[in-house]
Amino acid sequence: MVALFLLPLLLILGVSFFSRSTFGGIEMPLTLENYVRFIDPLYIKILWISCVLAFFTTAICLVLGYPFAYIIARSPASYRNILLLLIIVPFWTNSLIRTYAWIVLLRTEGVINTLLQQMGIISQPLSLLYNETAVLIGLVYTMLPFMILPLYASIEKLDRSLLEASSDLGAKPLQTFWKVTLPLTAPGIMAGSLLVFIPSLGLFFIPDLMGGSKTVLIGNLIKNQFLTARDWPFGSASSIILMALTLLFITAYILISKDKSGKELM
């Protein structure tokens, strides 16, 4: 059963060392060329932009999600499950449909532009869609629940008496937050960040639909190498690079969280 998903991955790893044949297949000789090719300013830039966008997605999700998770975790227990359920409900549904919903809102003849024009606030429609901000909105919208849930889990576990102790000892609310709440909920922050960051790198349809074709991310690059350019070896190499990056982040996460559980939190 494990072979079912291990085999394809090994195959990709294998293909990434072959050369591309004239007709889009793979042929000998074995080469590192595909990886060397990736060290091109063009591709490095794509990877860099993908990481930057994923980073901003994660950061915005964290900033929006933290206070929200905190509010839910501190709300009366009888409401809590309902409030939480309301967060999960949208993410049970198709992420493509949620992306489409934003297109309906943002496009030139969309809901927001029409409303603003009718109210006389603007005379020309704003170009809200097909830029990087739109991609960012789409990503944040799709990923937000993945940030809120782990944050909620760790904030809910937080022992309130520690906060009281901190303020009894004279800490100001901000100090308590910075020195007690934040470090103690760090596992939630890290888990949430990981859950948001990794999928953000690969969601090719959000840049496709909301960014026009202007924003090429690593996910789009991989997709195009396989389906359009038919350069499987290079597409495979790009996938391996993406996966290596992912595993790097996961390993870092595991190491840090193990470290944290053992030692005094800083």
Binding site: M1, V2, L4, F5, L6, P8, L9, L11, I12, L64, P67, F68, I71, I72, R74, S75, L83, L86, I87, V89, W92, T93, N94, S95, L96, I97, R98, Y100, A101, I103, V104, L105, R107, E109, V111, N113, T114, Y141, P145, I198, P199, G202, L203, F204, F205, D208, L209, G219, I222, K223, F226, L227, G235, S236, S239, L242, M243, T246, L247, I250
Partner: protein, 259 residues
């Protein structure tokens, strides 16, 4: 005084986030009932887009594909996943930890890499893309989720009832069917429903492994959105939202019942 201001701010902030989460979906549903072809000005209530949808043979075909694929892959993934969960719960063997870690691999690696690698595998094996590849891929990504859910249910399982059944003369198979399965049944059902919605909603992996004649509903929506935005897509999306929500809420209630 300060407290009440704080709690008012909290309510306000939480409401804003809920608005952010629900407004796009609400607008999408609302405009599926709008007479105008533009998703902008409200001109009147209509069911037209739903009727149009029902006459669109491409959409009906995609709907059929989605349901067949979801049904078959759910049944297969639930069986495989349940057996794996029970096996891993009951037996200790070499390499269990490694297998355990491997099982979570499809949950953590980027979906696009999964999709690509399966496409590569099918191409190497010369399997033409279509129903078979779609179903195989959906089984693959559903199994780990089934294992996770069934295992959670097994965690509270009292092994002594299985032992009691065996002591009373039941064969291992009878014990499994008559004792183990009924006890973990809610978990299995919840897992099956999760697998079903995962399959029904999957975009990225299906995008790579579906053949030209086997587009699923999400893939159909994807290609429709690329051509332009019409209320028909709103209607289709609304239908998918409703179906997904009904299944998931039902599954959640099953899962919650054990607590």
């Amino acid at each position: 005084m300060r407290h009440s201001l704080g709690s008012k701010l909290s309510v306000f902030y939480a409401s804003l986030i809920y608005l952010f989460l629900y407004m796009p979906i609400a607008i999408l549903i609302l405009y599926s009932f709008n007479q105008s072809k533009l998703n902008a000005v409200w001109t009147g209530f209509t069911f037209d887009w739903y009727f149009k949808l029902m006459q669109n043979s491409d959409v009906l075909e995609a709907m059929k594909t989605s349901l067949i694929v979801a049904l078959i892959s759910t049944i297969a993934a639930t069986m495989i996943g349940t057996l794996a969960a029970v096996g891993m719960y009951r037996y200790h063997f070499r390499g269990k930890t490694a297998l355990d870690a491997m099982l979570y691999l499809p949950i953590v690696i980027p979906e696009i890499v999964m999709g690509i690698s399966m496409l590569a595998l099918f191409a190497q094996l010369k399997v033409p893309l279509g129903y078979m590849t779609l179903i195989a891929a959906h089984i693959t990504f559903s199994v780990p989720f089934v294992v996770v859910v069934v295992r959670a249910r097994l965690a509270g399982f009292d092994k002594s009832i299985e032992e009691a059944a065996m002591d009373l003369g039941a064969t291992p198979w009878q014990t499994f069917v008559k004792v183990t399965i009924p006890v973990i049944a809610p978990g299995i059902l919840a897992a099956a429903m999760l697998a079903f919605t995962l399959s029904l909603d999957d975009v990225i992996i299906s995008f790579f492994v579906a053949g030209p004649a086997s587009a699923t509903l999400p893939l159909k929506i994807f290609s429709m959105v690329k051509f332009g935005v019409t209320p028909e897509i709103n209607a289709l999306s609304t239908l998918m939202l409703v179906v997904t929500l009904v299944i998931v809420i039902f599954a959640e209630r099953l899962r919650m019942r054990k607590q």
